[in-house]
């Protein structure tokens, strides 16, 4: 399988090069120190998201990292072959329509089996790449998280939960577009989170989401002219990137 491995590595290099992806830690280091097994979760704005995280992982970890992808999009035809054969994706059913906002508030919202299936992947020793927002956003804001991340962290407290901030990928291939336009992007692997013993779901999810919100505020490219705040004026140097939060 060396040919397969080599070609996967080449594919990973190709994806990273196209996405112009700079891979760093939260402290800005280029040397990653990632755990053997992890639940990677990230903000979601583009179909390129899981490809880019997958491509950014070191070779040894990449083999055992399984992106969780929606069966309704990736579950048939060429996409299925692509997702399953090359990326070893774990396909899940999405509950109903993601536009049903009220469903995000009830507990877990996953149909039976979804979280259990992902937990089995973890039990087998593989890592997961998940997008707790459930659906792609506009790349500038991060939606509320679904409960799956919390359930997984509860079921497998021994597996570190690693936040991954993806900056600018939504500009390469925004939702609804078909042709990716190259921009430079950044993949930031943040410090692992650990679920506190008595931490409840909403606290944990809020904490997990906050890491991404802060990372995005720090690394996202310029705000587009149509969403830039009035007082920013688009001209002041951003000497304090931290204050520019969403």
């Amino acid at each position: 399988m060396n040919v397969g491995r080599a070609s996967r590595r080449s594919l990973a290099k190709l994806i990273s090069a196209f996405a112009g992806a700079r891979v760093v830690t939260a402290a800005g280091e280029s040397e990653l120190d990632l755990p053997e097994q992890a639940i990677y979760y990230a903000n979601h704005s583009s179909h390129l998201d899981f490809l880019t995280i997958w491509a950014a992982l070191p070779a040894g970890l990449q083999q055992r990292a399984r992106p969780v992808a929606a069966k309704d999009y990736w579950g048939s035809g060429v996409r299925k072959a692509f997702a399953e054969q090359i990326f070893n994706a774990y396909l899940v059913e999405r509950h109903g329509s993601s536009s049903h906002r009220q469903r995000t508030s009830d507990s877990g919202v996953s149909p039976k089996g979804q979280v259990e299936g992902m937990a089995e992947v973890l039990a087998a020793g593989d890592s997961l790449i998940i997008f707790p927002e459930g659906t792609r956003g506009d790349g500038e804001t991060i939606a509320q998280f679904h409960g799956g991340l919390y359930k997984l962290a509860r079921l497998h407290p021994e597996v570190p939960v690693v936040p991954v901030t993806l900056a600018n990928l939504g500009r390469i291939l925004p939702k609804g577009e078909r042709i990716p336009v190259p921009h430079l992007s950044t993949v930031i692997f943040c410090e692992p989170l650990h679920l506190a013993p008595d931490e409840d779901k909403s606290t944990f999810l809020a904490r997990a989401r906050q890491v991404l919100v802060e990372g995005l505020a720090k690394h996202q490219g310029p705000q587009s002219a149509d969403t830039a705040r009035q007082d920013d004026g688009g001209s002041a140097p951003r000497s304090h990137p931290g204050q520019d939060n969403l």
Binding site: N168, E177, V181, S224, A225, D226, A228, S239
Partner: protein, 330 residues
């Protein structure tokens, strides 16, 4: 040795590249000695990275010139695309601009460089400033997003002008010699490569003078720089660096007159114009970076930053150098 030729390279170009290699060897040795004396300071690490990147860039330009005009044009097309990617990343474009960006990246540069490759001077010189300039805002208006329309459109047009149009004047120098010898009409539509070694001399002259000017401004600025020219734009650009760098690079250009079709005085004058334009390019790009709150356009070239951080001066110098030569010599 005088008849030796490989692609666009002849023995004179080889001497020139040899001279650059000697300078790089000296620089490498100095950086190594400094590193041993001072330890791994960040300035020394950066200096070594910069010099290593210069080795690669010189090898690359030598290789593409040896491979001929077509390969050289392809290299500059790729550089344009990489620069464009950096430029639109820092531009305030939104989701409504996506379809216009597809034109900007995938269609217009290819068409423009095609005209360049065909030596179709008329189309090469007007395609972007006239047709693409008017087309892009029209396409964007059709997309229907009006908020920030002028800023978004202007940024997109700027990206195209600087990263594609201006930069492409560097490989366009390769087709000037025929126009200088046989006239502009004869040059129109001539085959790629007809500029021969003389075209490569023009390109190498411009590259060495402009990039040399950058390096010399850096050296003069680091050693003697006291009075910043525009501190709110770039604290590193000083009068001492500017004057010292431009004058010494002008002298360098004059000393290279033997490789060009110019006499020493004209070589000096053209070098001076190119260096001043190169400085202007660096200054303008610094202002853009400062506005966007970034230090570098990217991290493609270790020690230098992004592609645009290295090519900013060339983008401003190449069109003016091209048109000055075309005006006075054809």
């Amino acid at each position: 040795m005088s008849d030796w030729e490989l692609g666009l390279l002849d023995s004179s170009s080889l001497k020139l590249l040899g001279g650059v290699v000697v300078v790089l060897v000296v620089a490498t040795v100095i950086a190594w000695l400094l590193g041993r004396r001072l330890g791994p300071m960040s300035t020394i690490v950066n200096l070594k990275q910069r010099i290593n990147a210069w080795w690669l860039m010189v090898a690359l330009i030598g290789a593409v010139l040896a491979a001929g005009e077509t390969v050289t044009i392809v290299l500059f097309l790729l550089l344009s695309l990489l620069a464009l990617r950096e430029f639109i990343t820092i531009s305030p474009t939104g989701r409504g601009d996506h379809k216009v960006l597809v034109w900007l990246v995938f269609i217009i540069p290819a068409v423009h460089y095609w005209f360049l490759w065909e030596h179709w001077y008329g189309m090469f010189s007007v395609f972007i400033p006239v047709y693409a300039f008017l087309f892009l805002p029209t396409r964007n208006a059709l997309a229907g997003q009006t908020a920030g329309f002028l800023q978004r459109t202007a940024a997109i047009q700027w990206a195209l002008m600087v990263c594609v149009y201006a930069l492409s004047y560097a490989p366009a120098l390769l087709q000037l010699p025929l126009a200088m010898e046989a006239g502009r009409d004869a040059a129109e539509g001539s085959a790629p490569g007809t500029g021969g070694a003389t075209g490569a001399h023009l390109l190498l002259f411009l590259l060495i003078v402009v990039q040399g000017s950058d390096v010399l401004q850096y050296v003069w600025g680091k050693t003697l720089g006291r009075h910043p020219i525009a501190p709110s734009v770039s604290p590193n650009k000083t009068w001492e660096g500017f004057i010292g760098g431009v004058l010494s690079a002008t002298a360098l250009g004059a000393a290279l007159w033997w490789i060009t079709p110019f006499n020493p005085l004209m070589a000096a004058l053209l070098a001076l114009i190119s260096c001043v334009m190169g400085f202007a390019g660096g200054l303008v790009m610094s202002a853009i970076k400062r506005d966007r709150g970034i230090k570098d356009f990217g991290s493609t070239i270790p020690g230098h930053g992004g592609i645009m951080d290295r090519l900013d001066s060339l983008c401003f110098a190449a069109p003016v150098f091209f048109h000055a030569v075309r005006f006075f010599y054809t």
